[in-house]
């Protein structure tokens, strides 16, 4: 049954939004805009069983077929390229690479459609520092190996503000009206985070490190995965609503989950992994007008024409499997004969195409592996059941001018305290453009427990309904917003982010998922259980290294 306007607003934004929503069933909508989303075509094709076979002249031989042109796939390509392995293709379903780091562009400015910042990496993350250096972002290295980032890429001040009780205040934590107890709990929380940032295991590894591959896996650390972030706070006796809000916001921001739903391990990681050590400030953020789309652009340029967008992979099978069915022993040396057939079709022309590859890097989400890789479940005994993906709603709101304001000025990140949305970032901020038209990128993770129902509801909603939800949310801090909007595009991300719910980090299924299946290597941020650029990048490099090692 379709929801009424009020029901949709309450569902997506929460009850406080109704105060400004008014009673009208036909609100004022933007003059232009469209509904965008991930391609559903491949899903439908697979469901229909329609897998066109390429003709003999539609086959190509390639060293490595990378399935998926998101950050993981592009990073794998970058690593292969850097190591002199140039014989690869990156097959991307969408017409544009980047996955959830993709971006859009209008005459005024580029803008993000998803991930939009990166904390400055700590010195140990040398590969990422190298990539940033290649992009011209790193000016020099400090004595401890920390990158010195060129000023124009560090998030320009003012970076953050929050709308509480009718006014904007600087920062994220709502200091105004906080009691002494609130502040004492905040300090105690910070101290505990500091403790975790200083924690080292016997071999000197951090408890929380990004990429998490370098982190300690001591029982004391992994114990945190058994409970939710909220439970963890309560265990410490912290009940301050302001602290719970701060933590809840952070979980929704990074994982698309509420603090009640987030594993405490992931929750603590968010805060502790980005501190150099106790007492340090959170690592500064780097950002670009198009968000992480800038990094995608750089990686895609490196891949050049080997990146094939609009290429829907329908099947991956071992070329051997057609002759000899049976399990492949992962540890046994693989003869040079073994290879894979990657079947795909061009989404623009509908032409089938096949790639014969020596190795495959499967850089798509794990839930697709059993559907695309022949005999995957039988061979590996793995399934993707425990991999749960949250949906996101992202809107780019084009304005003819900035809204008029009197309290703390427009910042890069603008958070509405009692909304279920995450607020918005301003695309023109980093360029130093402070006047006239702009584009706001508004984010909303669907934190429902029932992911499927929420996803279906999101995919059913019309543009007009979603645009109204976005504007109803923005109307609270900016009552005049509807008169300023010139265009509003909405992007529905069905499978946006892996959800680190309690128990998932420790789950054997997750731990096993990164192991290669023959010469199919896996690379995706979901293998880490958290959706972060650094994780996707790391898995891409790891998978590429596995391929390179197997070639020797």
């Amino acid at each position: 049954m379709p929801l009424t306007r009020r029901e949709l607003i309450v569902t997506l934004l929460g009850a406080p939004a109704l105060l400004s929503a008014g009673c009208s069933e036909s609100p004022i909508l933007p003059p232009a805009g469209e509904l965008l989303g991930q391609s559903l075509e491949i899903g439908h094709r697979l469901r229909d069983g329609s897998r066109p076979q390429p003709n003999s002249d539609q086959w190509r031989d390639v060293g490595v077929a990378i399935v998926g042109g998101g950050v993981a796939g592009l990073s794998a390509a970058w690593r292969l390229n850097q190591n002199g392995c140039e014989d690869f293709v990156v097959l991307e379903l969408e017409s544009q690479p980047g996955g959830t780091s993709r971006s859009g562009r209008c005459e005024l400015t580029p803008y993000p459609w998803g991930a939009h910042y990166l904390p400055v990496p700590l010195p140990h993350n040398r590969d990422l520092i190298r990539l940033l250096d290649e992009m011209g972002v790193v000016e020099s290295l400090a004595d401890d190996g920390s990158p010195v980032i060129a000023e124009q890429f560090l998030c320009r001040d003012p970076d953050e503000r929050v709308f509480v009780d009718g006014e904007w205040i600087e920062g994220l934590y709502p200091v105004k009206g906080a009691t002494e107890d609130d502040l004492a709990q905040l300090a105690a929380f910070r101290k505990e985070i500091d403790r975790w940032s200083a924690w080292r295991d016997a071999s000197g590894r951090r408890a929380f490190s990004i990429p998490i591959r370098h982190a300690a896996d001591d029982a004391e650390v992994l114990e945190l995965d058994k409970r939710s972030m909220s439970e963890w706070l309560r265990q410490h006796g912290w009940t301050s609503p302001r602290l719970h809000w701060l933590v809840d916001y952070s979980c929704r921001d990074d994982y698309g989950l509420t603090a009640e739903q987030t594993s405490a391990w992931a929750g603590v990681l968010y805060f502790a992994a980005r501190l150099k050590g106790p007492g340090a400030e959170h690592q500064p953020l780097m950002t670009w007008p198009e968000g992480n789309g800038r990094i995608v652009e750089h990686l895609a340029a490196q891949a050049g024409t080997r990146l094939k967008p609009g290429m829907a992979v329908t099947r991956i099978r071992s070329s051997q499997s057609r002759q000899r069915l049976g399990a492949v022993d992962n540890d046994a040396p693989i003869s040079g004969e073994i290879g894979y057939e990657v079947l795909a079709f061009d989404t623009a022309t509908d032409q089938p195409i096949g790639f014969r590859a020596k190795s495959v890097i499967f850089a798509a989400p794990q839930f697709l592996a059993p559907r695309l890789i022949d005999g995957f479940a039988e061979r590996t005994g793995r399934s993707a059941e425990r991999f749960e993906y949250g949906s996101w709603l992202v809107a780019n709101v084009h304005l003819s001018r900035r809204p008029r304001e009197s309290s703390f000025p427009l910042s890069w990140d603008n958070v509405i305290h009692d909304s279920r949305s995450l607020g918005y970032v301003v695309a023109t901020h980093q360029a130093g453009n402070d006047h006239g038209p702009t584009v706001l990128t508004w984010y909303h993770p669907l934190c429902d427990d029932d992911v499927k129902a929420a996803r279906q509801q999101l995919l059913k909603a019309k543009w007009s309904e979603l645009a109204d939800v976005v504007l109803t949310d923005l109307e609270r801090p900016h009552p005049e917003i509807r008169s300023l909007v010139t265009r509003l595009d909405v992007f529905r991300w069905g499978h946006a982010m892996i959800r680190p719910r309690p128990g998932f980090i420790n789950n054997p299924q997750r731990r096993a998922a990164a192991r290669p299946d023959g010469r199919i290597h896996f690379a995706n941020t979901d293998l880490s259980g958290i959706a972060l650029f650094e994780e996707a990048f790391d898995h891409g490099l790891r998978a590429a290294d596995e391929v390179l090692a197997s070639q020797i």
């Binding site: 000023e151 001040d157 000025p409 453009n433 006047h435």
Partner: protein, 532 residues
């Protein structure tokens, strides 16, 4: 009972009070018009002469017209009174509105002055004729004229000492209107015996309407923010405009006019020459035959006025965010006079853009070429400047703070020749030492050689600047012998003395201002915030 008897019973001193009020208000309207004209159009001698001349001739015209009023003298007197109340009372607000929206402002001004003069000219003859039945002629003339002149003296004293400083021009005008209207309404009771009952309530109704209108205008005027601004700025507002970027307000007092942007004083015409000479000449003295000059901010054209005194200057490129500022002189003639219409000079190219974006964009070779139809000189992206004069507002907000950042200075440096010299206005080193030295340190951090200096600008107090260059700066400066026209503030020895910093302006510790910390905005807020 006959009417003459009842008039006799009316206390005569009340009538003389009427005369006093009428005389005072009449003179106030005249002074208002003269002040307003000289504030808005400049050249106060001409403006006052014209206004007084027109007003006096109109008084005569009014007196002459009074002979054509034969009957219903009392009613006519009250009608005139109400008309004066309305036209005189609304004169200042109407003239302010007309100034920013009507092309033929002078016609409106002189029309209003003439109308008020005529009506005031009618008042006294009518009143005297009303009273002549009850008073001895000699007595009448002597008393009415005495009160008339007494009223004039009263107004002449009240106007500069109380009205302008305390009430502002608009409220003075509206309050005088209210007094006139009150006299009119009161007259309907005082002269009741001389008025026919027919239409009496209509007359009273009109009087109440005029009073109501003036009260509404008084309330409205307050909400137009002008008066609130006057209270804050402490001077009468003569021009106000809200552009998409800022609120531009010009105030005026007897000594000169002042420009305020978003409530912050930018210059006072009385001593701006000290500021602008100090801003411009040290930099231009440090470069031999400067040819291409960049001005960032400075949309008032006063820095450009000083730059154009150098015959070697071939081009001046002025980048100011707000077209409302760079065209202000077109709408406010005293500014054109003060800036000597510098922005109209053919050597000057005006670019209305955020300097941060312009400097950043102009670095790249993909800078769009300006359309050919423009007669202005095209600024090529490869062109480098010998001089940059940086005259931004104080760094009180983040959007201005970025214009004092290392990133900005780095981008700017790429637009300069290897031995270019720049000067930067950088707030008061006495009030805000950390802000001042933060700017100096930021310039040093990107590799500029710097020479901090200061100048006393009475309106601002002790003011700070810094000279900076990619190459070492000369120790001793001397003004160019080719400089056109006399300097009012600088001589060679004064110029060099600007670089002597007294101990109370000594260097203090400060961080480098970067885009991602904007420490300068925080310093500025702390240092100037505690002054308020």
């Amino acid at each position: 009972m006959n009417s003459a008897d009842s008039m006799n019973r009316a206390p005569l001193f009340l009538l003389y009070l009427n005369v006093l009020i009428i005389a005072s208000c009449g003179l106030v309207y005249e002074l208002l018009a003269g002040t307003l004209a000289s504030y808005l159009l400049g050249d106060s001698v001409t403006q006052f002469s014209l206004v007084i001349g027109i007003y006096l001739s109109a008084l005569g015209a009014g007196a002459w017209i009074s002979r054509f009023v034969d009957e219903r003298l009392a009613r006519c007197f009250i009608e005139v009174e109400l008309a004066v109340a309305l036209i005189g009372g609304m004169s200042a607000p109407v003239l302010f509105l007309a100034f920013s929206s009507v092309g033929a402002f002078r016609a409106v001004l002189y029309g209003i002055v003439f109308a008020i003069g005529t009506l005031v000219g009618l008042e006294l003859p009518l009143l005297m004729r009303l009273l002549k039945e009850h008073l001895d002629f000699e007595d009448l003339v002597s008393r009415v004229l005495a009160f008339d002149y007494l009223g004039a003296l009263f107004a002449a004293l009240l106007f500069p000492m109380f009205c302008v400083p305390r009430l502002g021009l608009v409220r003075t005008s509206l309050l005088c209107g209210l007094l006139n209207a009150a006299v009119g309404l009161w007259g309907t009771y005082l002269l009741r015996p001389l008025l026919s009952s027919r239409g009496l309530s209509g007359l009273r109704g009109r009087a109440c309407l005029v009073i109501g209108l003036l009260i509404v205008a008084l309330i409205k005027a307050d909400s137009l923010t002008t008066l609130a601004e006057e209270r804050v700025l402490g001077e009468p507002v003569v021009y106000a405009e809200s552009t998409p970027y800022q609120r531009i307000v010009l105030t005026r007092n007897v000594r000169g006019f002042q420009l305020h942007l978003n409530g912050h004083l930018q210059f006072n015409s009385v001593d701006e020459h000290r500021y602008h000479e100090a801003l411009v000449h040290p930099a231009l003295s440090a470069v031999k035959s400067p040819r291409h000059v960049l001005v960032l901010g400075g949309g008032d054209g006063l820095a450009v006025r000083e730059i154009l005194r150098y015959p070697s200057v071939e081009s001046v490129t002025l980048v100011d965010l707000d077209p409302g500022m760079t065209t202000l002189a077109d709408r406010f003639p005293p500014l054109a006079e003060l800036s000597r219409s510098s922005l109209k000079d053919r050597r000057v190219t005006i670019i209305n853009e955020d300097a941060f974006l312009w400097v950043g964009r102009a670095r790249r070779t993909d800078n769009p070429v300006r359309p050919a139809k423009e007669t202005d000189r095209i600024v090529r992206p490869t062109e480098k400047f010998d001089i940059a004069i940086i005259d931004f507002p104080d760094p009180g907000t983040f959007s201005v703070g970025k214009l004092y950042s290392t990133r900005f200075y780095r981008m700017l440096r790429e637009r300069l020749t290897a031995d270019a010299v720049i000067s930067v206005q950088c707030t008061s080193p006495l009030v805000a030492p950390r802000s001042y030295w933060c700017i100096v340190k930021t310039l040093e951090s990107v590799g500029f050689h710097v020479r901090p200096y200061h100048a006393a600008v009475p309106t601002f107090g002790e003011w700070g600047f810094v000279l900076a260059s990619p190459t070492p700066l000369p120790e001793k400066l001397s003004l160019s012998p080719d400089l056109i026209g006399p300097s009012r503030f600088l001589t060679d020895s004064v110029l060099n003395s600007l670089f002597d910093l007294p101990p109370d302006l000594a260097r203090v510790e400060a961080e480098v201002n970067q885009l991602n910390n904007q420490v300068l905005v925080h310093y500025y807020d702390q240092e100037w915030g505690t002054m308020k």
